[in-house]
Symmetry: C2
Subunit: 200 residues, 2 copies
């Protein structure tokens, strides 16, 4: 089975958002602080990053076959306007299929019977490529279920002082990871990748 | 004036201790997971780290002329048995000189009139070398006072799930840092160093 990974942009003091679930103008600066264009599936959204970060994003998109996201993230982005910017099929973990959406669409599949089933569906959609998991709550559940293989952190040099931690409320802590097995130095961001040992 | 720096070992999810101010068996593994001996001023305490971390520690000790610590850390370590392991003079920020200690000893100087004065005293003791600040609460106060030049993070691949954040309760957030200007990959730790811009 292909790998299941998660990643987030995190402040140096460990937060993936400020206390009001914002702060992205600080966290996501690295997506727009360079001169290398990184197009997305959304014609209105092109990242402009350092060469190192652009290559990092291109490699991630290339490795990824499908995504699993939580209903919160789906609602927050309004279903990314109909197609995820990574241009991959997305499995949405939810209690109920949202109004106006097919349970089994081309861009979004809604799974109402739990995280394990969502990961299974994503593997089937991924065509042998990796499954990416977002955001933090879903990533935590996948880690707790023993289904997560890698944790990627895009560490940015800002102190938020308070906020939403990555893997907040983790029920199986401490979890010892291995690595980083990859360190990519961008501009205003350090891309770190860690493995979850099989026993965790 | 020489630089003022702070540093801490931090979990990948942003904690410098677990919720009960422990968890050091997970955080400090990198001090004892290698075969390069790093002696300290305490004959009973020798670190055994990777070659990269040993060189990192040696460079830090070489750059540092004096330390500023909080009373909590001083009490917690019982005054490091009389001399700090880095073998540097230590300025302790406190409300009251503890019983049994001279206000102006060779190893410890107790400053009761605030953080700015403590940093001044440390500069005078440092002989032109850097002033190191520990732990988190004192580091936060020095940052808030506009006196901090660098933040060093020894990032370890463990998820604690909850705990004491670095710079907890920061009153001037967000603080944008610059860097990392140095990335040293040890074993079980990544040594990162950031600059505090002069405006912060």
């Amino acid at each position: 089975m292909s790998k299941v990974t998660t990643g987030a942009t995190m402040s140096l003091d460990g937060y993936v958002a400020d206390p009001s679930h914002g702060g992205f103008e600080h966290l996501f600066q690295w997506y727009d602080n360079g001169d290398v264009a990184v197009p997305t599936a959304n014609p209105d959204m092109t990242f402009r990053t350092s060469a190192a970060s652009a290559e990092h994003i291109r490699a991630l998109v290339g490795r990824t076959g499908a995504l699993v996201v939580g209903r919160t993230l789906f609602d927050l982005t309004n279903g990314w306007g109909g197609r995820h910017p990574m241009d991959k099929p997305v499995v949405v973990v939810t209690h109920r299929v949202p109004d106006g959406w097919d349970a089994e669409g081309e861009s979004f599949v809604f799974v109402t019977d739990g995280i394990e089933r969502a990961i299974e569906r994503a593997h089937a959609l991924a065509g042998g490529k990796e499954v990416g998991v977002n955001g933090g709550t879903i990533a935590r559940q996948v880690l707790e279920a023993g289904l997560l293989d890698e944790v990627h952190v895009d560490l940015v040099p800002v102190l938020l002082g308070d906020g939403i931690p990555f893997f907040s409320g983790l029920g199986i802590a401490p979890v010892q990871l291995e690595g980083p097995f990859r360190v990519v130095e961008g501009v205003g961001v350090t891309h770190l990748a860690y493995r979850v040992p099989r026993s965790a």
